[in-house]
Symmetry: C2
Subunit: 388 residues, 2 copies
Amino acid sequence: MAFSERIDRLKSSLIREILAAAQKPEVMSFAGGLPAEPMLPKVDWSEMPVSLGQYGMSEGEPALREVIAAQARLLGVPCEASQVLVLSGSQQAIDLASKLFIDPGTEVLVEAPTYLAALQSFQLFGANCLAVPQEADGMQLDALRQCLEQHKPAFAYLIPTFQNPSGARYSEAKREAVAALLDEFNVPLFEDEPYRELVFDDEQATPIVSRLQRTSWIYTGTVSKTLLPGLRVGYLIASPDLFPYLLRLKQSADLHTNRIGQWQALQWLGTAQYDAHMAELRRFYRIRRDAMQAALLEHFAELADWQVPEGGLFFWLTLKQPIDTRTLLKPALAADVVFMPGEPFFVDPESNLGHVRLNFSHVAPERLAEGLGRLARVIREAQAAQAA
Amino acid sequence: MAFSERIDRLKSSLIREILAAAQKPEVMSFAGGLPAEPMLPKVDWSEMPVSLGQYGMSEGEPALREVIAAQARLLGVPCEASQVLVLSGSQQAIDLASKLFIDPGTEVLVEAPTYLAALQSFQLFGANCLAVPQEADGMQLDALRQCLEQHKPAFAYLIPTFQNPSGARYSEAKREAVAALLDEFNVPLFEDEPYRELVFDDEQATPIVSRLQRTSWIYTGTVSKTLLPGLRVGYLIASPDLFPYLLRLKQSADLHTNRIGQWQALQWLGTAQYDAHMAELRRFYRIRRDAMQAALLEHFAELADWQVPEGGLFFWLTLKQPIDTRTLLKPALAADVVFMPGEPFFVDPESNLGHVRLNFSHVAPERLAEGLGRLARVIREAQAAQAA
């Protein structure tokens, strides 16, 4: 039996295995990106029409596409409902963009670090990923220009607002500069925005796609971080030149997105009820962020450096004494605590040792200090063993 | 901007465009594979736990996997729940199998005709599809052996029970013979069974995968034809050597299947309520099948030959005077009737002119004769014009 060449590039998913291990109730998990259970809204299904059981359109429900386009226009994204493709979660946008752009050897520009599952998908399709270092306020512009001068990536994949894993938010200046560079070199932009709405301050962060003058673009979002991930409803909005291809790829992948989830999303998006839920969610997560910051100061001040994230779901720690954090997973699990090693978020893991991603939304504040204390002990012991 | 090579192979979907045209209420559609609206069961959501809003496992809900495995064992498929992967509709199995097996130039064995959207997906990934002619009781065995002797396909894709489009059901003898041949040449089997349960007689049709001794296999099914397609819940069951790869490909495609649809499917599968619903559905569709047969005898007896299907959703007509049926679409639409041309179901459409697929589940029996009369007129006029 012969598999395709891409199967040689199919990596065992570290996230999957960790999440599986973290199912045990005694394990305290800082690994996933799970919304807090108490903040899952109670939803009402009683009014859903029976006719939604029938097959639907590959594009998505017309009314939902209208609402998504209207919300995107409020953010400054110039679009019509005809450019909106409803997806089976925004992860699907990564699969579709991979299919649209990537042959073996195709160059793709990504941030360093970047979203692990995007990196894996691009590499599965054979991409040669070009990493541009990320700073607290976005990509290093000099490195971006240098990369664009030396390469011709098929597209740039960016997560400019509360990036997974780094939590970084691009400044307005960097948003402008990145848009100008992508326009100058005519490189399409794939802007992934799952965390945009989980924001704890009032700063502006207009999407980069809204600043483009010339190059093609894909913008994605989801209700998974704000409403219910179990619905599996996300979306992409694309420039009109890309849309027809993405639509056909979507149809080939799974015909259309489940209509019951789409109906439920439509009950919320753009309503006063949703605004109230979002305000509550932000307050709730800000409290958890603050509790995590306090616990980190207590247990990690001597071990690591970090920025306090102004949104999203993650702290990103840089260990003062670098160590391959993948080797910490086993002793951490033995101590009933689990985290996400930073290495797999880099195109070149071996040159980027010593980062840790910690989710702050899932563990209850009163258990945080205990869990982080256990993790700090595991790190100290490993570093001591390494030094010995 | 440069797309991947596969985009050159991305065909505009005839099905999509026809279904879009068929949305108009005045158009009578024999084109789709839509369940009849009156037979969509009324479902109850009131008991669904809030916790299903959270992210789920890529494999699917454990309880649903158990039920699917138990049902498959009743059919003779030797499997455990650990081999079941819940999918966002069974179309997704085609995408995952394409990724698992197909590089540009990879040979894939298919029936002639075969399911259009599978053919398109295999070709999108660059497959060289080898077509083995289909008869009323399954593949031509001589042609199959010859193909296997001369080629080394990565897998064989078969729809042995009420195939879309031909409606053919493999005999027990052919099921045995095909399994033996695939084992002999060690070619994995991808057996696609969306229509198995829509059966109007008592004949046996044990899955071919249950007869395999040696080669690897994927078996797929769905609740779309029996419950609600809008749920987007299908599944695959795979031999243990294939399962881990398919699971990771699923995770990369869309993380996991929507859990609300999975919960609803679980309320039905294997229950007495589901058995009663299925009995009603079969009775309802048999009546529609019989009404279609009567109307066909009235309007198509001189125009075409066909078998009466013992299950599924389609009649497959072979015109006595072949004509490229794709050219009939426009005049048919002008007459407010729409059907599915047969040519796109073949690897080599130009050598297979003159077939028509007609769905019998969607149009109400009292409107059938009128619609088929219109279609017969369109065909007669085109044949007269061709002869002139």
